[in-house]
């Protein structure tokens, strides 16, 4: 079997995910403008500790080797360490994504003592001005403090994860230097118009010239830089594909379990259109993974649709489903950031207000200042506690 054949096996789906994202809570101490899960307030329907452990038991039985835990801010959950330790005890390695607010020195030491554990600190700027514009006042300092604590506690290599935006694309070298200074690994990922990202995407997403900058930078410096395979749409820019599978893994090799147990194709499509089922359904997660209509459909060969006449399709695979869906573009056509400009052309005809909205919004209401993000009539009124 050739390399191509392996990818087509993976596109057809596997009997269990290779790894998956599990958002433990919608609660968060931050309000990042581009939050893919529109987090802020805890959802009262959150999985209980017992339910969470049942999910872990299922994942163990499916031989899922590794999970990526996120949120919201996962460390906000009172049972965070309990679930972490349980997962690892069941042979499921964990990487968790955090803004670092709760990693004081004592926690850092506790984390350093654990095995099969990876930590990913979110950072979107190499200085407070750039970072905090997106992630909120004090968030840069919070993240740096967490990194300092992990280093001091001897945690070993952790990851720094950056969402690449129009405003930080010139900081890629500095991000790399920052990661190197901690002995950490840099991860750069694509901004998707998901969650609150839908509102800020048009201002934040890289320009065409910047996309080329990212592509060239990754080819030149990306040896030890992770991308979560999120830039494969840029492969159409040149002859050399970026390292990675270069395919959408959603519903095929990865998926999302959200805080209330709903299963989605990936964390960037938290919307009914991409909901496969719930771990609370009879048959649990395993049945959703193996038999849900959505996932079976995603595992069918996908047609190039409007992209079939474009020579770049083999390289770019038509880009990202989430990027298309939330900008109102059809799924069987170009990505909004299509490097050949085919998406941009289509976007011009779409009215922003008509785009699909996230199914849920856990953004905290802002009491004293005007609300910065408006998500239309789907936003439920919330009581101020």
């Amino acid at each position: 079997m050739s390399v191509e054949a392996l990818v087509s096996q993976l596109k057809g789906g596997l009997d269990a995910p290779i790894c998956l994202t599990w958002e433990l809570t919608y609660a968060c101490n931050l309000q990042c403008v581009h939050c893919l899960s529109s987090s802020g307030q805890r959802d009262p329907r959150e999985l209980t500790t017992a339910e969470a452990k049942q999910v872990l038991d299922e994942l163990r039985d499916l031989q899922v080797f590794y999970i990526n835990i996120g949120g919201g801010e996962p460390m906000v959950r009172r049972d965070f360490f309990e679930l972490l330790e349980y997962s690892i005890s069941q042979g499921i390695g964990v990487k968790f994504s955090t803004n670092g607010a709760f990693i004081d020195f004592e926690k850092a030491q506790r984390l350093a003592a654990m095995d099969y554990l990876d930590i990913q600190i979110s950072l979107d700027g190499t200085d407070a001005v750039t970072n905090d514009a997106v992630r909120g006042d004090g968030s840069y300092a919070m993240a740096r403090r967490a990194m300092d604590n992990l280093k001091a506690a001897g945690f070993g290599p952790f990851k720094i994860s950056v969402v690449v935006t129009r405003h930080n694309v010139d900081q890629l070298d500095e991000f790399k230097a920052l990661a190197d200074s901690y002995g950490a690994q840099l991860r750069v990922t694509r901004l998707r118009p998901s969650g609150r990202g839908a509102d800020s995407w048009h201002d934040l997403h890289p320009t065409n010239a910047q996309q080329r900058q990212i592509y060239n930078w990754l080819l030149a410096h990306g040896d030890n830089v992770l991308t979560g395979d999120s830039f494969f749409h840029l492969n159409a820019l040149g002859e050399e594909p970026l390292p990675g599978l270069n395919m959408c893994g959603a519903g095929r090799v990865v998926c999302l379990i959200d805080p209330i147990g709903d299963v989605y194709a990936c964390p960037f499509v938290i919307h009914d259109e991409f909901k496969a089922g719930s771990v609370r359904d009879e048959g649990g997660f395993a049945k959703v993974w193996k038999q849900s209509d959505l996932f079976l459909e995603l595992r069918e060969p996908q047609s190039a649709g409007a992209c079939s006449s474009c020579g770049s399709y083999d390289a770019c695979q038509g880009g990202c489903m989430a990027a298309k869906f939330f900008t109102g573009l059809p799924l069987d056509g170009p990505d909004p950031e299509c490097v050949n400009g085919h998406g941009e052309h289509l976007l011009a005809g779409i009215e922003l207000a008509s785009n699909p909205k996230p199914s849920m919004d856990h953004t905290k209401p802002v009491k004293t200042t005007p609300v910065r993000v408006t998500l239309g009539s789907t936003r439920k009124p919330v009581s101020v506690s």
């Binding site: 079997m1 392996l6 096996q9 290779i18 080797f65």
Partner: protein, 85 residues
């Protein structure tokens, strides 16, 4: 390679897939696809035979395929999925 005595690394888990298996090394987090069911059979049987070649013979692998298998096991050794015993 054919004359080596090999074994699966104890920190490796093998998960069957329709076309072969997924091998995951918990220690170094490397993930390798074994892309043919024969490759999986041989990998599982390594510990029962004195050499890789003996394992290939016991698993009825045609000699014309041995160089491919040797290359594959070299690759698995470099990622520490298998090791010499």
């Amino acid at each position: 390679m054919l004359g080596s005595a090999l074994e699966l690394h104890p920190q490796v888990a093998l998960r069957p897939e329709p076309f072969g298996a997924l091998a995951y090394h918990y220690g170094n987090r490397r993930l390798v696809f074994l892309k043919h069911v024969d490759m999986v059979r041989v990998a599982k049987d390594l510990g029962n035979h004195p050499t890789l070649q003996a394992t290939l013979e016991a698993c009825d692998i045609a000699p014309a395929r041995w160089s491919s298998f040797a290359k594959a096991f070299e690759s698995l050794q470099s990622s520490e999925v298998v090791r010499e015993r």
